[in-house]
Symmetry: C2
Subunit: 343 residues, 2 copies
DNA sequence: TGCAAACTTGCAAACGCTTGCAGCCAGACA
DNA sequence: TGTCTGGCTGCAAGCGTTTGCAAGTTTGCA
C-alpha cells in the first residue's frame, strides 16, 4: 500500500497551502469558487482521506457519537434503533461507537470511560425497555440524550414511546371493530410502560363509555407460558371477553396458544391486538397479529437529530436549546387478528 | 466542568516528565516499580483520561475496530455477534465503531470510507446470513476478518457456521429418537447455507443407512405462509414423514402451523427440529422448538480474537500468521419438539 | 492615479500524546 | 580514583490537522 496521502500532498498537487486545502474541504474560510473546486477535485483524484484523529485532536470535534445500551442481543429493538440513529448520523458525517453494558454498572462505567477517552462528541444513552434511569455521573457535562428512558427531571433531552397513546390506539382499534368487552393481559414489571399502557387501556374504555371491569385485567411475565396461563383465566370465564389487548407481542403469542387450545378461532371467536410490532413474530403468527408499533427506528433518528441540535448550539454556549422530552407516537399495524365480535 | 486533565498535569503532580508518565501508563520503557506505581496512583487520583485521538495520531493505533454489517435491524443476530465481538474487544481495550450498509454498495463504500478516515485498526466485515462475498476494494491492506461470510480464496480470515455439521446434528437428533422417515423443508435462496444443510441432511441419512427419498425434500422462502404450504405438501401424503427437519426457525413455525391445522400433535404425531435457535421464537413456540444454535456470539468473539492475533503480528510484519478460515460448531438446544415416532 | 475596502491565501502555532535517543547516576571493576 | 556498564528518566521532535492572524492581491471609487 502506497504511503497514505495527507493534506500536504493535496496542497502540493494543487499548488496551494495547507490552509487553503483545509478551508476548501471543510467549507470554512473565504475561498474563491475556482480554488475550492480545484482543490476538491485534486483531493478526489488523489483519493485523499482526511485523518480524523488529527482533525479531531485539533478541532476538538471527533465526529463520533457514543451509543450506550443496556441490551442489544435478544431482540432486534436495538438494531432498529441503531439503524435509525446511524442513518441520521451519516447525514451529519458522524459515526457511531457503540457499547453494550449488559446492565452491569461496573461494565457501564468502563464503557463510558472508553467512549470519553475517544472524545465522543455526544452520547445516546439507551435502554431497550422504556425505563426510569439515573444518568451516570461520568456523563455530566457531556451532551447526552436519553432513548427509551427518562429521568425524573427535565435537565436532559429524552425520547420514549407514548405508552398511553399506544394503548389507546390499540383499544380503539378493538372498539372500532365493535368490541365492548375487552380484556387486558398486562405485564408484571414495574416500568413506566406497565402503568402507561394500563392507564391508557382504562382511560380509553371510559372515554368510549365502557365501564372498566377490573376482573378483565390480568398480568403475566413475558414468557409465553405465563401469558398462556393469564389468558386462560380470562378465556375460561363464561362471560369471556370478545377481544384481548396484550401488553406485548410475546404475551399475545401466549394468548394465541390459549385460544388455540380452546378451539377459539382468531379473529372469528376472539380478536387480539398488542403492542410491539415485533415483525418477525407478528408476521409469522397465524393469523398475522395486529400490533401497535414501537417506533424504534424513529426514536434512534430523533435522538441523533436532537443531539445535532444541541451540539450545534454548544459553540454559542448560552443560547443552548432547552432540553426536550418527547413521547413519540406509535402507529398501528394491522394484519388479521382483529375482526368484529361474535354475536 | 473543570479543564480536562492532561498527561502534563499528571507529570507535574507526580514530579516526573511526560515521558515517564506515558511509559508508566502504557507499560512500555524501563521504569522502576516505585515510579510506575506512584505515577499510576497520581493519575488515578487526578482522574486522568488519556486522549485517544492524540495517542492514536501519534502511535498510529486508534484502538478502534470497525464493524460493518449488511443487516442489523430485523433479527437479533447482529446483536449477538456484536455482543461477542464487543466483550472480546473490551479485553483488548478496543472499542467498536459500527456501520450498517443495508446491503447497498454505495452506502457501504461511504461507510467503509468513514471508518478508514477514523483510522480503525481493523475491520470485521460481517454478513448476517452466511454468504459468499467479494471483499470491497477499499479494504485491501486493512486487517480484516470476515464473519458469516467467505470469499472463494484463502487470502483472508473468516468464520462461518459449520452448516453441514449443523444439519448433521439436527438430523441425528431425530434419528436418535427413532425416526427413519425424515422430511426436509429447505429454503430457496442460493447461499452456502442452503447447499450445506441440504448436503448435511443427505449425508447424515446415508451414514445411518437410510435411503434418501428426494420427494421428502421441499423448499420455501422464509415466510411462514410459504413454509406452511411446503410443509403441507409433505404432511398431506399418506406416507407422511414422522419428523421434519427445517432450514430455520421461521420455517419451523410454518411447519407447526401446518401440523396444527391438520390436528397433528407435536411431538407425539410429528417431531420437528430446525436450525437457528432464534430464542425469542423457539422459546415462545408451543411446544418449545428443538433447534441447532447458530453460534453468533462465538463468531463475534472469534473474529475479534483473530483480528487481535493478526494485528499483533502486524508489527513484526513478515511473520504474520496465515489467514485462517474456520467453520464453527453449532450446538443443539433441545426443548420439547422431538419425541419418538408414532408407531 | 491613489487609497481603502474587500477578497484571497498562507504562516506558523497549537492539539495531547508517543518515542528515538541522549543524559544522568550508581555501582562494579581495574 | 577513573572508566564502564546498565538501569532510569527526560528532551524534543513529530503525528496530520485546524485556525488566529497577517500578508498579498484586486477592485471600486474619488
Amino acid at each position: 500500500m502506497s504511503k497514505r496521502v495527507g493534506i500536504r500532498d493535496v496542497a502540493a498537487a494543487a499548488g496551494v497551502s495547507l490552509t487553503t486545502v483545509s478551508h476548501a474541504l471543510s467549507g470554512a474560510g473565504q475561498l474563491s469558487d475556482a480554488t475550492r473546486e480545484r482543490v476538491r477535485s485534486v483531493a478526489a483524484d488523489l483519493n485523499y482521506a482526511p485523518n480524523r484523529l488529527a482533525s479531531g485532536l485539533r478541532s476538538k470535534r471527533s465526529q463520533i457519537i457514543g451509543f450506550v445500551s443496556d441490551e442489544i442481543s435478544t431482540t432486534p429493538y436495538a438494531g432498529r434503533v441503531l439503524l435509525g440513529a446511524q442513518e441520521a448520523a451519516a447525514k451529519n458525517d458522524w459515526v457511531l461507537m457503540i457499547v453494550n453494558t449488559s446492565a452491569d454498572p461496573r461494565f457501564e462505567g468502563r464503557s463510558i470511560e472508553a467512549l470519553l477517552q475517544h472524545r465522543v462528541d455526544g452520547i445516546i444513552y439507551a435502554r431497550m425497555y422504556h425505563q426510569t434511569v439515573a444518568v451516570p455521573e461520568a456523563l455530566v457535562g457531556v451532551p447526552t440524550v436519553l432513548l427509551d428512558a427518562s429521568t425524573g427531571n427535565d435537565h436532559i433531552s429524552s425520547v420514549v414511546p407514548d405508552e398511553e397513546g399506544a394503548a389507546r390506539t390499540a383499544v380503539e382499534h378493538l372498539i372500532a371493530a365493535g368490541h365492548r368487552r375487552i380484556g387486558y393481559l398486562s405485564n408484571v414489571d414495574d416500568i413506566p410502560a406497565t402503568r402507561g399502557r394500563l392507564d391508557g387501556y382504562r382511560a380509553t374504555l371510559r372515554a368510549h363509555g365502557i365501564e372498566v371491569d377490573e376482573t378483565l385485567i390480568t398480568a403475566s411475565d413475558s414468557t409465553t407460558a405465563s401469558a398462556r396461563a393469564a389468558a386462560a383465566l380470562l378465556l375460561d370465564r363464561s362471560d369471556r371477553p370478545t377481544a384481548l389487548f396484550c401488553f406485548n407481542d410475546r404475551i399475545a403469542m401466549g394468548a394465541y396458544q390459549a385460544a388455540q387450545t380452546r378451539g377459539l378461532r382468531i379473529p372469528d371467536d376472539l380478536s387480539i391486538v398488542s403492542i410491539d410490532n415485533f415483525e418477525i413474530l407478528a408476521d409469522a403468527m397465524l393469523p398475522g397479529l395486529d400490533s401497535v408499533a414501537l417506533p424504534h427506528y424513529e426514536m434512534g433518528q430523533w435522538a441523533i437529530e436532537r443531539l445535532a441540535l444541541e451540539l450545534q448550539a454548544d459553540g454559542d454556549d448560552d443560547d443552548a436549546p432547552a432540553p426536550q422530552q418527547i413521547r413519540m407516537h406509535c402507529p398501528l399495524v394491522t394484519r388479521q387478528s382483529v375482526g368484529p365480535p361474535p354475536h
